[in-house]
């Protein structure tokens, strides 16, 4: 009889616990990382009833969580990729929005600037047209400055977020190692620490969003966590903290280091997760955009300044620079053992690229590699001021202050600073060189039919450029220069002298004279302004094949294409990730209808057991009553 009570009691206890597990499932239906739990019941050991066995009730074997290691790993991998793309997308779309369809108004500013030159060409003496051009030039410079500073802002934002990510990764690593300790203890004592396992899995999942990680399990229940490239973060109860270190060439850019790497940068091996996305946004989007913008700024400034130097301003002087622009930067690696510095100048704007270059000195030899493509760039020269290192294929010329130590490296950024530093150097509108430097004339007394062209400046630096030169024909086929010499004349041939070039064509008569002289006073001339206005479409970059406007168009399409590609990849990865989440949820999630059904099942079982107890009680009472009659 007593065994009935025992059986019923065990059932009431078991079903009560089952209802507790179900209630706990319902309570945690929305808890991130919670895995649905189910109670496992088992038959209690049977009692020997003499020849046959009767069950002795029900026992709780354990509480299991619904967990699939495969689904969880798949989700973590997917989250790492999504994290990387989301972080990258944040910046590519910022750049895309910043540029819009006009490169942040750059196309308009450039157009206005070149139209300004055209207006000066239409009326070279108009001071209002000149003032307007200076204003247009300032607006262009301001536009480049502001776009550049917004890109720089993005770089500092990247730094902030890298620091935040590193701190969070460290905090999570510490939590995982402490959970490892607790789980080891519980596992040792035979309990299944489901809640701790859930927490640890959730932390690994969070970690995988920040940086791609892999885990391995140990027999004691603890796990090891590694960064994608095998750099350990957590080994059992030990953590390896990450830290931020300045880039060896650019202290304003933070890199990731680890105590496991003795503080050396491990950035290049972090390719996924939010951290991977931040690092790739910097190297693949922000810095290239800055460099390209700088290339445009350098092209605008250099070509305008060169043109200014080839013409005369209203005061009859050769024009001074219209724009000031930051020169290329060469920074020494912080690992260099020698204090030698490098300085770089642009020797050929046509060959200039928007890439950065790495100059290394090893075993007495300099090598220059493209930091983007890794391609080797041919170098000539010794690196001294008399024989600079010349990389003619990329238009750079490098001078070192001494001989570096073997193994020293320098990062050459030809255009990174240009967009941020471009400014208008000219303040006086009369300083705009609208007029050509020279003017040519034929003497009225000439009897031949030869004519002289307006002339072009080949070398504005020639000190004799503005000297008056008389070309006199001694015979119809020979001429003297300033009364000296006798040179053969070919109709239509070029005469190059003193840095200018003129063309005389036709049939001259003996005694005919032509004069080339300074155009001072020729304030109505617009030759130089026309040439400056034409620079908009003149091929300046890529060896004369791409104009400034073309480069801006390429910048817009390039940034747009990258943003589009990242958007597409991010959308696709979101779908993959949703699928991975669904898989995990499908295994581990809490279905409330299921729980409701379970609840009813356990409730009914409980009620039935209680009823059984009541029956047992009835039996017992009946028995007592019958005895009571006998003994009263």
């Amino acid at each position: 009889m007593s065994s009935i009570f025992g059986i019923d009691l065990s059932a009431l206890q078991a079903f009560q616990q089952a209802i507790e597990v179900t209630s706990n499932n319902v309570a945690n239906a929305s808890t991130p990382g919670y895995d649905e739990e189910s109670i496992e019941l088992e038959t209690a050991l049977p009692q020997d009833a003499g020849g046959f066995a009767i069950g002795s009730g029900v026992g709780v074997a354990g509480v299991q969580r619904a967990y699939s290691q495969a689904a969880a790993t798949q989700l973590n991998t997917s989250q790492s990729t999504l994290g990387q793309l989301t972080a990258l997308q944040n910046y590519t779309s910022q750049i895309d929005n910043l540029f819009g369809t006009t490169a942040g108004g750059l196309t308009t500013a450039l157009q206005t600037y070149y139209s300004g030159w055209s207006a000066v060409a239409d009326d070279p003496t108009s001071s209002s047209a000149r003032e307007a051009l200076l204003g247009d030039a300032s607006a262009l410079a301001a536009n480049l400055n502001s776009t550049s500073s917004q890109l720089q802002e993005m770089n500092s934002d990247v730094n902030t977020r890298i620091t935040a990510d590193v701190n969070q990764i460290n905090s999570i690593s510490t939590q995982i190692s402490s959970l490892n300790t607790q789980i080891e203890q519980r596992t040792g004592s035979g309990q299944a620490p489901n809640q701790l396992l859930d927490q640890r899995d959730e932390l690994v999942s969070n970690l995988s969003q920040l940086a791609g990680v892999t885990t391995t399990s140990n027999s004691d229940g603890s796990i090891n966590v590694y960064l994608g490239n095998g750099q350990p973060l957590v080994l059992d109860q030990n953590t390896y903290q990450l830290s931020t270190v300045p880039n060896e060439f650019n202290a304003s850019q933070l890199e990731v280091a680890s105590t496991a790497s003795d503080g050396a940068s491990i950035s290049s091996s972090i390719t996924s997760g939010d951290l991977g996305g931040l690092l790739s946004a910097r190297t693949q989007s922000i810095d290239p955009a800055l460099n390209q913008l700088g290339q445009i700024a350098t092209a605008v400034a250099q070509s305008a300044n060169t043109q200014q130097g080839s013409g005369l301003d209203l005061n009859g002087q050769l024009g001074s620079a219209l724009f000031s622009v930051g020169a290329p930067v060469a920074t020494s690696s912080s690992a260099n053992t020698d204090a030698t510095t490098a300085s770089v100048t642009i020797s050929n704007i046509g060959a200039l690229t928007s890439d950065n270059y790495l100059l290394s000195y090893k075993g007495g030899t300099y090598t220059l590699t493209d930091a983007t493509t890794g391609a080797n760039v041919a170098l000539t020269g010794a690196g001294t001021s008399t024989s600079p290192l010349t990389a003619s294929s990329v238009g750079l010329s490098i001078v070192l202050s001494g001989t570096p130590a073997s193994g020293d490296q320098f990062l050459v950024q030809p255009t990174a600073q240009a967009a941020g530093t471009i400014g208008v150097a000219l303040t006086d509108p009369s300083g705009l060189a609208a007029a050509g430097a020279i003017q040519t004339s034929a003497a009225d007394s000439n009897t031949g039919s030869a004519t002289i062209s307006g002339g072009t400046v080949l070398d504005a630096a020639n000190p004799a450029l503005l000297d008056t030169t008389t070309i006199q024909f001694l015979t119809p086929t020979t001429y003297s220069v300033n009364g000296a010499g006798s040179f053969a004349y070919t109709s239509g041939g070029n005469v190059d002298l003193n840095g200018w070039q003129v063309k005389i064509a036709g049939t001259p008569a003996a005694g005919d004279t032509f004069t080339v002289q300074s155009n001072a006073g020729g304030t109505g001339d617009n030759t130089n302004a026309l040439a400056a206005a034409n620079q908009q479409t003149t091929g300046v970059l890529s060896n004369g094949t791409i104009s400034v406007s073309g480069a801006v168009g390429a910048l817009i399409s390039g940034a747009g294409a990258q943003a589009q590609q990242v958007n597409t990849a991010q959308t696709a990865q979101t779908a993959v990730n949703t699928q991975a989440q669904t898989n995990v949820q499908s295994v581990s999630g809490v279905n409330l209808d299921e729980e409701a059904a379970n609840l009813m099942q356990w409730q009914q079982a409980y009620q039935a057991s209680a009823q059984a107890l009541s029956v047992a009680n009835g039996l017992f009472t009946t028995f007592l009553d019958s005895i009571n009659g006998t003994f009263s």
Partner: protein, 399 residues
């Protein structure tokens, strides 16, 4: 597959975000009228549109340059027309003065008129445009190009020719320097010039001159000398006699491809120099005429000198008219060039605008349809979610 409530919720939220973001993009398009507002929506299109916009703006700049050039050329054209009128009046006066019946007083009156015309021509030569720039000064537009001198006028400008860009790689000259317009009329008939010696004592007067045989004309200098009142000889620069003959008044003397007609009665020893034409300033021509008109005409020889001066002046005026017309026709040709290139530019601009609109312009019909279908999807998604969310077994456990 096992479905949980949080899955449903997460999926609903993802779908909601995507739908709302699509609706927002479509709305952006409708309110801006653009098919894309960032390059990522159409990288190739954005690059093309940037290029087209630049070409369009430049083409518009060329049109504006053309308008400015047309203004300058019209100013020059009307100055040249005035110049021709003045030269024509001058020619009429010279013809009037060439009449032997004119009294010294008449001649003096004509001289006064000639000087007035000279003043007018000077003011034409110093014409300024609306901005105060001298149009005939070459590059030196701030310098008054011509100033009166004893021998006519001196030119203070230069030989520069300002150009304006009216198309890709196409420039047009917008001004002609004063040297070309006023200083480069040829003397004589434009090929050679015959000048009576100042020491002539006879009444030989220069008549028509011409090149009759261009093949034989070599351009050297010659002298027609009278060895007797009825005999002449022509010598070249080396002193060699080229031809000689009997002089008959009004009959042409032909040598070295040239034909020179003299009339009147030259005296023995009189000579006429023949040389290739040189450039002569219009002002010098006028000044010479004015000076000649004020000389005494008391003797037949003096009268002949006056007549010869007037002939020289008429030749000079004819050449100046010729030169002016040549310049004016180039001005006309430039105006035509501008008109043509502006017409081309207008067509190009229309095409570019069309291309830009084709790429970046929004197809409203499809955008509105899209918006409609996106809104429908969104409200359907919301409806579906609220319906399924309401389904819970717990509802039936109550009570």
């Amino acid at each position: 597959m096992r479905v949980t409530q949080s899955m449903e919720q997460a999926q609903f939220l993802t779908a909601l975000n995507q739908l709302e973001s699509s609706i927002s993009t479509t709305q952006d398009g409708i309110s801006s009228g653009l098919a894309f507002t960032t390059a990522s929506q159409n990288p190739v299109g954005a690059g093309l549109v940037a290029g087209y916009n630049q070409v369009l703006a430049q083409s518009q700049q060329y049109t504006s340059n053309g308008n400015s050039a047309t203004g300058s050329l019209n100013t020059e054209d009307s100055a040249l027309t005035q110049l021709q009128n003045q030269l024509q009046s001058l020619r009429d006066l010279a013809l009037e003065a060439n009449n032997a019946t004119e009294s010294p007083a008449d001649l003096s009156a004509i001289a006064t008129q000639v000087q007035q015309i000279q003043g007018s021509i000077l003011s034409i030569a110093n014409t300024q445009d609306g901005e105060g720039n001298y149009i005939f000064a070459g590059y030196s537009t701030q310098t008054q190009p011509f100033s009166q001198s004893a021998t006519g006028a001196t030119y203070g400008g230069d030989q520069g020719q300002r150009r304006v860009q009216i198309g890709a790689g196409q420039t047009v000259v917008v001004g002609d320097n004063g040297d070309l317009v006023f200083n480069q009329a040829k003397t004589g008939n434009g090929t050679f010039n015959v000048t009576p010696a100042g020491t002539n004592t006879g009444t030989g007067i220069l008549g028509a001159t011409a090149v009759t045989d261009p093949a034989a004309y070599t351009g050297g200098t010659y002298s027609i000398e009278f060895t007797a009142p009825d005999a002449y000889q022509v010598t070249n620069s080396g002193g060699t006699v080229v031809t000689s003959g009997t002089y008959i008044s009004g009959q042409a003397i032909t040598f070295a491809g040239m034909q020179v007609t003299l009339s009147g009665a030259p005296a023995t020893g009189d000579s006429f120099a023949v040389a290739p034409s040189t450039d002569q300033s219009v002002f010098a021509t006028v000044q010479n005429l004015a000076n000649a008109l004020q000389q005494s005409t008391a003797t037949p020889a003096a009268q002949a000198q006056l007549n010869n001066s007037i002939v020289a002046a008429i030749n000079g005026i004819d050449q100046a008219l010729d030169n002016t017309q040549t310049v004016q026709s180039t001005v006309g040709a430039r105006l035509n060039t501008i008109t043509t290139s502006q017409a081309v530019a207008t067509t190009q601009q229309t095409q570019l605008q069309q291309s830009i609109s084709n790429i970046q312009g929004l197809d409203y019909a499809s955008a509105v349809t899209n918006l409609d279908s996106q809104s429908t999807t969104l409200s359907a998604a919301m409806e579906a979610y609220t319906q399924t969310e309401g389904l819970s077994l717990f509802k039936y456990l109550q009570g």
